[in-house]
Each structure stands twice: as C-alpha cells, then as structure tokens.
C-alpha cells in the first residue's frame, strides 16, 4: 500500500477501541502456551515443588511453540482471553 493510501485508511478507520475503565476487582484472564520441553516442564516442576503462581493463568501444553498458529491466538481472544503468554 502506498503511503498516501495508508494515511487515508488510517484517517478513515478508528482502529483502536477507546480505553475502558478497569474495575478494581478485575483480574485479566491469561492463557499461556508452553513448550513441552522447556516452559511446560518448568511449570510442571513448579507444581512438584509446590510453588504457587497466579490463579488467572491457564497453561496449554504444546509440543513446541513452533506449533503456535495465528488461529490459536485469535481464537483465544475471541473467547475472552485478555492476554497471551508464549513460552518456549
């Protein structure tokens, strides 16, 4: 796209939602994609060691973070996840 076209599009489309008030009792829902061989193993070890971590993080094990796909990320957001954490 040409610079002019980009500018025209940027002008026409309000691409970012307005910021909203954050309720004081709100916790973001975080989804972690973790590689089986490292990050997930670390999370596993943390469990074995009875270490605690934030309750609002849910972990999904992946065979490798190379398996992460656009659609997983987008689907997570579609379903209301607030943030993603990819570790591998």
């Amino acid at each position: 796209m040409t610079v002019q076209a980009q500018a025209a599009v940027a002008e026409e489309i309000p691409s970012i939602e307005p910021l909203r008030e954050i309720p004081t009792d709100w916790d973001p829902s975080i989804l972690a994609f973790a590689c089986h061989y490292c990050a997930f193993a670390a999370a596993d070890l943390a469990g074995v060691m009875r270490l605690s971590y934030a309750h609002n993080v849910k972990i999904i094990r992946m065979p490798c973070t190379g398996k992460l796909d656009h659609s997983y990320v987008l689907r997570a957001f579609e379903r209301g996840v607030d943030g993603l954490f990819v570790a591998g």
Binding site: M1, V9, E12, I13, E17, H70, S71, L74, R75, F77, E78
Partner: protein, 223 residues
C-alpha cells in the same frame, strides 16, 4: 502470479454486516503466495470479523473455508455444503475468483481483496509487477524486460526524458524500465537492437479489444 491486497477490515465489515451467516472463503493459489487471500488468511480474517461482530453487538455466524482455486469449477465440489450454508460469501480470491463464484452461486459474493497486479515475489514480503497481459508479448525485443508493465508511460521507444540515475521520474524507488532494458541489451551484446524503432502497437489484443477469450478445442470435452 496474481497479487492482491486485503481490503481494510472496516470496508469488509460494511459489506457483510447485514448478513446472518457469512463464509470467508480463501483461494489457496496466487493470493496465498502473497499471504493475502489464502485459506490461512481467510481463517484469520474470519476470526477478526467474529471479534468485530462481537464488539458491534451484531448476532451473526462467520465461518471460514477455502479451496485451491476459485477460478475452476472442479475445486468447488468439496465445499459445496459450506457455500450452501452461507447467506453471503466474502471471497479472498482475486477478482477472477470472486466473479467466478458469483456466476456459480445465486447469493452475494463480496471481494475481500483489491486485486493489484500480476507480479513476482521479489523477496519475502515484496511483490512487484511484471506483466500487464497485453496479449502480444514483446519481451524478445526488449531483452526480457517489459516496458508496458514496468514503464509508467509504457513508452515503447524509451526511455523518456525523465530517467535519472536509473530511476523513473515518478519515484526514486522505481527502476526505469528502459535503463533495465539497455543494461540487459548490453549484457546480451545486443545494443544494436536498441536503435530499432518499436512499431506502433496493436492494442486490440489488450483490454482495449474487449474481454478476451481463449478456446482450445483440442482439450475441450466432447459435448
């Protein structure tokens, strides 16, 4: 290949927002190479549009699917059901695919891309025009570089007076096609050919002659 560029999301939303069941339909050949309209991009686009629908509070279903080529009948067979399901299709094929689908199905088929040109993958993420399908190739005379597609004035006996340091007068980022032609003729030891006047072109095989058609009777099915 045919290069396309996805339309802005807002424009796509405007075209589909009044429908209840929308199929975002990819075309996995040319426009997949430029990563704008393949099945993968259709899947991503469908997701973005679902989020948009949620944000706008519009109750609609958006699914995605795709085939290898939207410009051939055979490929549509396996996705007939998906297309039947939808009240409207957002096709991420080039303009050919969109029209071909529209001829096949009596429902709205919207374009997801702006079809931009016939080009090459110069490097990953960079696509550049090479051909304008004028219907009468002159590459043999011009050292393999097309002045019709690559000169901003399609000058047949170039360059024009605006060529500077090998660049076109319209932009320092655009190569002068005739500089490329001269360089190439020199490389091939054919500079004598430069002085041959290119005759006035017959544009009747181009767009100017009306919609074009090629019939190969030898490969047609007997009817």
């Amino acid at each position: 290949m045919i290069v396309g560029e996805q339309k802005p999301l807002e424009e796509l939303w405007e075209s589909i927002k009044d429908h209840k069941k929308v199929l975002v339909f990819g075309c996995n050949t040319c426009v997949a190479v430029c990563q704008q309209g393949g099945n993968k991009e259709a899947e991503i686009l469908a997701s973005l549009l679902r989020m948009k629908a949620t944000q706008e509070g519009v109750d609609m279903e958006i699914q995605d699917s795709g085939i290898e080529r939207q410009c051939e009948h055979e490929f549509f067979e396996k996705t007939e059901e998906r297309v039947e399901w939808a009240d409207a299709v957002l096709s991420t094929a080039c303009g050919i695919g969109v029209q071909f689908m529209a001829e096949k199905y009596p429902k709205p088929i919207y374009p997801g891309l702006n079809t931009t040109f016939l080009g090459a993958v110069e490097e990953l993420g960079v696509y550049t025009e090479r051909c304008q399908a004028c219907g009468q190739c002159i590459l043999a005379q011009t050292g393999g570089i097309c002045p019709i597609a690559r000169c901003a004035k399609r000058v047949m006996n170039g360059p024009c007076g605006g060529s500077t340091n090998g660049k076109c007068e319209i932009s320092k980022d655009v190569d002068c096609a005739w500089q490329l032609i001269v360089d190439r003729l020199k490389l091939l030891g054919r500079m004598d050919d430069y002085e041959k006047l290119t005759p006035i072109k017959d544009w009747s095989s181009d767009r100017a002659g009306g919609p074009r058609k090629l019939v190969r009777e030898d490969v047609q099915h007997d009817s």
